[in-house]
Symmetry: C2
Subunit: 254 residues, 2 copies
């Protein structure tokens, strides 16, 4: 059995609570949040406090708050020598106050309030200062995910950077696709199967094997047509940057 | 019953042949290709010719060849007044010679030789010069897909442009993610669940609802860290362009 207290109840922690509440070997002792939280069936039986001096005893404290508040918050905690972990991809382990044992429990996924995720498929990137704490985090990770990996703060920073490219920036490309179609009242629905397939291909092919399109084959006629359609819109900059990079990348291989 | 001849046997046509060979109401009369094609179980019973003067009679001729060869090829065809269609997103209907009836049969998807696709989910964008031909293309499209839509050449050009953004450019973001991780020997496998989830979210949320990340919330500390990690690599340009666009897009809403 692992006793856990959640400190903060934003996107990541609320998804973690949901996942861990189904695990037989985890007891969620308490949720702390500065403000009251919205009740739902998942958390109705979990004790709640908004008083930082009344945080319950636990094996692991999971801090899920904005990145730039983590240090200050960890310093303000009223206990010490406990295992405190944050859940952030972009924050180093030593951002946490050293008055407690420190660790990281980073689920590599994008969380939206409105969209449930399957935790089993989500890699949990863990880090700790000693092997016992690492083993405890591994045990906790295994209750919700099939992939728990030890990753140093340095490597995690790179992973987080790569995640921004494949998630936030990819999603912005979807936004641009949507914009382009909206101009002509063409339904974004038509692009959805392509979006899904583009992602699915990656499970079997490397990104290089999966690449296709006018820029890769240096099809200058199509590229010209596209630039003409884009006019001087802000999306033209994206088109030019990607096309140049793809031409350079694949042109060399010809 | 619809009789079809395939002219050219590249990526798109070979996937179409595979899908239509399973349809009870389509007869694939022949495949023409300039060069011999590799035999497989799907095409072993379909007549083949590499002689353009020996193309069989059919209701629809599906031209699947490189975009810039379509016009010349359609002029060189030895027959006339038949329904000839191309399968290209970026080429207008009138690129085809007017000596035959013209149409477009554009499956909006990315095709790789090594990756099978589920045609039922692929939108087929059709266009024709008269309602009878359009009905015939619709009938043909319905044999393989649940979504057959009439789209003008102008709108199809926009759709193709948007497809380049959500497919080719997205895939390049995967390439960049892979590069960033390779530098530190971190496995690209860890990103795959995020890539799948990023795409899946789009089925339920709009791209705007799905957007998250440091640029959206203008988290300048994380952005600085990322720029530091990127150094002066070519991927820095992508990071800056996306981050600026996202800050502008979401900054205004605050």
């Amino acid at each position: 059995m692992v006793d856990v207290v959640f400190l903060g109840f934003g996107n990541v922690n609320s998804h973690l609570v949901k996942a861990m509440s189904k695990a037989n070997t985890v007891v969620i002792k308490q949720i702390f949040n500065r403000n009251a939280i919205q009740q739902n069936s998942v958390i109705e039986n979990i004790p709640f406090t908004d008083d930082i001096s009344k945080v319950a005893a636990a094996d692991i404290y999971i801090i899920g708050i904005p990145d730039d508040a983590i240090t200050e918050f960890s310093i303000a905690l009223k206990f010490q020598d406990k295992l405190t972990v944050h859940t952030s991809g972009g924050v180093a382990l030593d951002a946490l106050s050293s008055k407690n044992r420190r660790g990281v429990f980073y689920p590599l996924q994008t969380f939206s309030k409105k969209h449930d995720v399957n935790f089993k498929a989500i890699p949990i990137c863990i880090e700790a200062e000693n092997s016992k704490d690492l083993a405890l985090l591994k045990q906790l990770g295994n209750t919700i995910s099939n992939t728990v990996v030890e990753i140093s703060s340095e490597k995690r920073a790179k992973l987080h950077l790569a995640a921004v490219f494949v998630n936030n920036f990819t999603n912005h490309l979807y936004e641009i696709g949507n914009e382009i179609l909206n101009e002509d009242d063409v339904s974004f629905e038509l692009l959805k199967p392509l979006i899904i397939e583009t992602a699915s291909k990656i499970e079997k092919l490397s990104p290089e094997e999966a690449q296709t399109g006018p820029a890769k084959r240096n099809d200058s006629k199509t590229i010209e047509k596209h630039l003409h359609l884009l006019g001087d819109s802000k999306n033209r900059n994206f088109y030019e940057l990607f096309t140049e990079a793809l031409k350079q990348k694949y042109g060399k291989k010809l």
